[in-house]
Every structure is written in C-alpha cells, then in structure tokens.
Amino acid sequence: MRLSGLQFDNIPALNIPFRFYLTAPIFAILTGVLLIFWGEQIWLSRWMPITLATTHLIALGVVAMIMFGSLFQLLPVLCGTPIPINSKGAIVFISLLSFGILCLSAAFLQQLSFLPALFLLSISLLSFGVILIYTLWFNASGFYTRTPVLLAVIMLALTIILGFSFLLNYQTGYFGALPKYWTNIHAAFGTLGWVTLLIITISFQVIPMFHVTPEFPVTIKNHYPFGLFILLISLAIELLFSNSHVTFALIATLLATYAIAALKQLSLRKRKLPDTTIKFWQLSLSSLLVCSFLLVVNLFTLSSKQLPFSLDSIIGVIFVVGVVLSVIQGMLLKIVPFLITLHLQQHAMKYPMGMGLMPDHYAIISRQHGKQLYWIHLGTLVIVVMSAFIPSLTKLVGILFIINWGFLWLMISRAYNAFSRIKLDISNA
C-alpha cells in the first residue's frame, strides 16, 4: 500500500485556477474592442502601437493568465508539488498582473508612461517566476514533466527579462532604437519556448489521460522538449552572427513531426466518442503543421520580398489563434468540468448521502455549448487569416473575439455557480 504522487491536500482551492480562467476572457474581449476600432492598422507593421498592445493583451492577459492558472492545478498532479501561493496570494498576483497588462497596453498606445507597467509586471511576474522555478527545482518530481516544465519556465523568464529591458529602454532611450534581433528573440522565446514547450510537455500527459489514447512514444517524450529548447538557444546565438535558416528549418521539422505524432495519438483513442476537445486539439495541431510549413516557405521568400503580403504576420496569427487559442479553449472545456467533479467528489466523501447528486461531466458544460464555441472559434480563425488580405475584415475579427470569449466566460462562470450550488446540495443531502 502506498500513497504517492498526487494528494488531495496538494490540489489548490477551486477558486484559484478559476480566478485566472475568469480573468483571461476579459482581456480577450478588450482585445476585440481594440480590433473593432483600430484593428486595420495591425496589418501595417508589427511595430504599430495597436499591434504591440493587442499582441501583449493576448500573450499575457489571455495565454499566460490561463497557463498560470493551469500550472496551479497541474504541478500537484504532474510533479507532486503545489505552487506555494494561497487564494489571497493568487488574488494579489492576478490583480498586479492584470493592472500591469492594462498599463502596458496603455503605454503601447501612448496613453501612459511605461513605468507603471514596468513596476506592476516586475513585481508580479518576477515573484511568480522565482516561486515557480524554486518549486520546480527543489520540490518537484515527475520524470517526463519536471525538467521540460522547468525549461518552459526558463524560456518565460528570459522572455520577461528581455521584455523588461525593452520597457526600460523605451522609458530612458538609453540604447536608442533596438536592433530587430532582440525583439525577434523575445518573440521566439515567448511563443516557441514558453508557450509551445509547455503545450508539448503537457500534451504528453493530458492527451493519453483525458482521451484514452496510448502513451506517446518514449523517444518523442524524452527528446522533443529538450530538442526544442536547445534549438531555440542555438537560434539565439546563431542570429547574433549570421542567418539561421538551418535552425529555423529544424525547429519547423520538430514542430511538424510533433503535430503529426499527436494527431496520430488522437486517432488511436480507444473510444471514439464525439468530443469537442478533440476537435480543438485537431485544429490546434493542424494549425501547427501549417505554421511549420509556412515557416519553411518564409525562409525562401524572406530576402526576395516575393510576396505581396506579410507571411510573418500570417504565421503569427495562425500560431496565436489557430495553435494556442484552440488548445487553450479545448483544454478549458475538459478541465473545468473535471476540476469541478474532482472537488465535488472530495466534498461528497464527507457527505456520502450526497454522492447521488454528483453531476454528469456534460451537465457542467453541455456538449451543445462546446460545439457552438468550437464553430465560433473556427470562424474567428478563418476571418482573422482572411483579414491579412482584406484588412477591413479586422473589425469582424474583433466582434467574433468578443462573442467567442464572452461565451466562454459565461460557460466558466455558470460552471462555477453550478459547483457552488451542487456543493451546498450535497452538504444538505
């Protein structure tokens, strides 16, 4: 008999991940509002104030917010240790981070100095980063997850440090105009390092667990996260001295083979029941395949300027909306009912008479709502790619963003209310 790994005492209070999940859609809705009013300008250049504001609202306000919330839940499950921050600490962290993101966007839109953003984000992100790295380094276990998650967090730390140095430079003008190299590294470490590395690592655990598939091949689990990390560091070093077409091609190949392997795993699931989360995963992995292909195409067209549109921007939006926002929404559809059931089960152990009140998985977020969310998101992805060619469509992207994330916020909010109601019913049973 033994009790190891996951312990119920280690699982955070349900309100902790849900605070992150309920905050993130608000930033997506805000992005939608900005896109409606000034969206057409995002296609002019990545340096436009609106482009910088919206990309950081999404990267920090939506993607990082949800990933941070999920790490609170995943670290006890996958690495056997909690992040040592309680509910009050989480509220303070979310508040500082949220105001920091708002100040950063306002500063990009030239409505505010960069100092408030620098102050709020450095307190929130640096303290969270230090706690996360300390927890992973000293307390975590989990052969396939501890080190890859640590590598992803190191990539996040490098991205943040670079970001802060840019903000300081914006504020003081000390270094003058920054070479494009540094912002490229900031973007590559943030998107391919922090976000993709974490998605890949987590997928090795959650795809077999939630979708009843065979385990990923050991070669992929052992080598891909390390491979991606090493390639990104090589990319940063190479870019300092010369072009790095080979490394870019290797990164694209690694991402494409991962996407194919993950799609194959999903096709091998034992019970092929209709499941919207699977559709979100398939959309995300297919988008990753497209991005990998376009990354290679981009290598051959970079210098010759053969294309009448910015392939960089198209790869960027397919990556953010197609790869990242798809997988995030798919996982929320799965993890929200799962966490609610897990916490209700724990509660029902104290009130065995209430065990019969345990809800079905789909009573918390219905299949129908999941499907509707998927189609709205797919529509957003199609329109956002089309808007690269027809910029006037960007207003529609903004409207779809508001519908998409407003709907998701409503679903999560209703699910949490259902949890509170059923918990009370179980207590009174």
Binding site: L3, L6, F8, F210, E215, Q345, P352, M358, H361
Partner: protein, 86 residues
C-alpha cells in the same frame, strides 16, 4: 470470498473515479473489488484512506494496472487477498 471485477480502462476522467466510488458503496464484507485501469489511480488512494478501505496495487507494464480494494476491518478479505496475491 468473491472478487467483484470492474474494468474502467476505457473511461476518460473523471468517470473511472466516479464508477469506482459508486462500486465501493455496495461493497460488502467478504468481497474484494478488482479494478482494472490503464494508469495507477493515485488520487483514489486518499479517498480509500478516508473511507476505511484497504487496497493493493499491481502493475503489469505501463498501461495495465490492477487495484484490489476491500474493507480494512474485513479480516477474512484481508487474509484472502494476501493468500491470493502471494
């Protein structure tokens, strides 16, 4: 003595836990619940502790796990399972 077999290997979370907990409610003295799962159901152990259940876990490779569960105060089941698993 009797084994009550329960195969949850094809179910996605959180169903395995729900099915096992429901089966525990009807588990009688002299019965041993034999659960077949594709992964070790570690979160279940805390619940079994709270419920006064004893268990024994046996893995055959990475994806075949058997968990035998019986009432901790059921001496007959305790002896039976120890003999059976020798």
């Amino acid at each position: 003595m009797a084994f009550v077999a329960l195969d949850v290997s094809d179910l996605s979370p959180p169903l395995p836990m729900q099915v096992i907990i429901k089966a525990l409610v009807t588990l009688e003295s002299g019965q041993v619940l034999k659960v077949f799962h594709r992964r070790e159901p570690v979160p279940l152990y805390a619940i079994l502790n709270e419920q006064g259940m004893a268990w024994s876990h046996h893995a055959i490779g990475e994806s075949q796990h058997y968990v035998y569960i019986w009432r901790a105060d059921d001496a007959q089941a305790d002896n039976f399972i120890k003999q059976a698993l020798k």
